[in-house]
Symmetry: C2
Subunit: 321 residues, 2 copies
Amino acid sequence: MQIKCLIIATYFLIPQLIMADQNFGIAVHGGAGVMKNLSEERRTKIEEKVNETLTKAYKILNDGGTSMDAVEFVVSEFEDSPLFNAGKGSVYNSNEVQEMDASIMNGKDRSAGAVASVRNVKNPIKLARKVSELTEHIMLVGDGAYEFAKNIGETIVDSDYFYSEKNLKRLRKAKDKLVSSNIIHDKIGTVGAVAIDKNGNIAAATSTGGMTNKMPGRVGDSPIIGSGTWAQNGVCGVSTTGHGEFFIKYQVAREVCARMEYMNKSISDSSEEILMELKDINAYGGLIAIDSEANISMPFNTHGMIRGSVSNKTNINVAIY
Amino acid sequence: MQIKCLIIATYFLIPQLIMADQNFGIAVHGGAGVMKNLSEERRTKIEEKVNETLTKAYKILNDGGTSMDAVEFVVSEFEDSPLFNAGKGSVYNSNEVQEMDASIMNGKDRSAGAVASVRNVKNPIKLARKVSELTEHIMLVGDGAYEFAKNIGETIVDSDYFYSEKNLKRLRKAKDKLVSSNIIHDKIGTVGAVAIDKNGNIAAATSTGGMTNKMPGRVGDSPIIGSGTWAQNGVCGVSTTGHGEFFIKYQVAREVCARMEYMNKSISDSSEEILMELKDINAYGGLIAIDSEANISMPFNTHGMIRGSVSNKTNINVAIY
C-alpha cells in the first residue's frame, strides 16, 4: 500500500518537478525604425503601454496559461492601441485604406493561422488564430478572410474606427517623397510577441498595418509563416519587424531557428548575425526571439525598436533605443 | 600588339570557358497525388505535354536564355493546358470559383514575386514575375493583384475560360465526402519548374488552383516564398506540390536548401529525407529540386507525381509513377 502511494505520488509529482524546471517568459515588440520624431509624451505613453501589457502577459504565463494565450493577448492589446502600426493604428495604403496582416504559430504542433489584406476586422491576430483552430487551412486573404470573420462572429468595425489624421499626413508625405524617389525610413512598423510557457510550449504572433503607401493587396512578411513569424518547440520562437520584402527573401524568422538547429548557434548569436547580414544589404528592421530555456534576444539594425521582455529569471525590461 | 591581342582574346575566352563548365538543366512537375483514376489517354496527353514543354524549355537554356525565362515558360505552358491544376485547369473553391496562387524566385539576387487568391488572370505566373520586376513588393493578393494585372495589361479572361465539368464534379464529390469527414486524396495538384542556366543562375516557379473545395481566400504553399518556391544561387532551387498547409508548417522549399547549406547534405539526401519525414506525419506531396551543378532530385511520397527533367549531362526523362 505504501509502495502504491509512493508510485501514485511520484506519478503526480514528477510532471510538476519538470514544470518547475521549465523557464518561461515573453518578449514583445512594437516596431523598428527611425524614432527621432517621437515626442517625449508619446514615448512615455508607448513605454507605459508596453510595460502594462507585458506585466499582464507575464501573469498569464505565471498562472500556468499557454504561450498562445499570452502572445495573442499582447498583440491584440497593441492592435487596440493607436500607438502602434497594427489594428486601430494601422497606416494607410495608397488608396487611403487600411489593409492588415497577421499570423500566429504554435510551436507545440506547428499549427499556424494567418490572415492578409483584411479590412474592417478589429483584431486580425484573433482572426488568424481562428483560421488555425476552426479551419483546415493556415492562411486566408482578402474578401475570403473577411467573410470568414463575419461568419464566425469576429468583431467587425467600420472604417472610421481606423481613422487617423497623423497616418493620413504620413501617407501624403510618403506620396510626395515617392515622387522624388526617396526612401521612407519611418514606414516600418509591426507588433509582435514570442513566449514560452511552463509546459515548454513556444508561440509567436505578429500583426501589422503594413507600409504606408503600399499598393492595395500588398502582403509583407508579417503573415508569412517562416518570414515574419515562427515557433518551433525545443528550438525557438521569432517575430520580426522591418522592411518586409527583405524579411521574406531571407526567411528571417525561420532562419534564426535554422541556424540554432543546424549550426548549434545560441539564440543571440543567430539573431544578431542575421540582423547584421541584413544591414549589409540595406535591409532594415529587428526581431524578437525566445529559446526553449526562455533566453531572449531582441536585436535591431535601425535607430530604435520598441521592445520589452520579462521571464522567470529576468526582470521586466522596456526600451526603445 | 601580340600581347594586347592575347589579353583581349583571354578576356573574351575566359567567361566562355567558365560558362562551358557550368552544368545547366531544368526539372518540372505537374502535381502529385493518387493517380489511379488517370486514363491511358489522359496519361499519354500529360506525358506528351511535359515532354514537349521540357524540350522547348531546354532549348531556351541551351541557347543561353535565363533560368527565369525557362521556368516562367514551363509554368505558363502548364497554366494554359486543361491537364493541370493551375491557370485554365484550376479546380474550384467551395463557392465554385477559381482562385489561383503563383510565385517565382530568382536565385541570383533572391528577387521574388507572388500573387495569391487571384481570379480571371490567364497566367498567374506571369503576373507574379511582374510583381517582382515592376513593383517594390513581393506579394499581391486578391482585388489588389487583379487591379495591378489590369493596369499593366496582363491578359484577363472571363470565368468561362476556366469552366470545367470535370472539376465541378470533383468539387461536388469533395463536398459530399467532406460531409462524411473523409480525406480527399486526389485534391493535391500544382505545377512548377526549377532550372539553372549557363550563367549558374537558379530559378524556381510554382502555380496552382489550390485545393478543390478550399475556402474562398485560402492560400496554400505555392505562393509562399520558402514554402512552395525557393531559389538560391550556389545552393538550390525548389518547387513543391502537395498538401500545402503541411508544406508551410515545414517550410519545405527553403528546408531542402537549408539542410544542404548548413548540414552539407546532397540535394537527393536533403529532399528525400524531408519527404520521408512528411510521410511520417501523414503529409503528402512531392518536390523538384536542382542544385548548382544541375543535379536534380524529384522525390514524392504519394502514389505518383507528374514530373520530368533534362540537363546538359542527362537525357530527357518524363514519368508519373
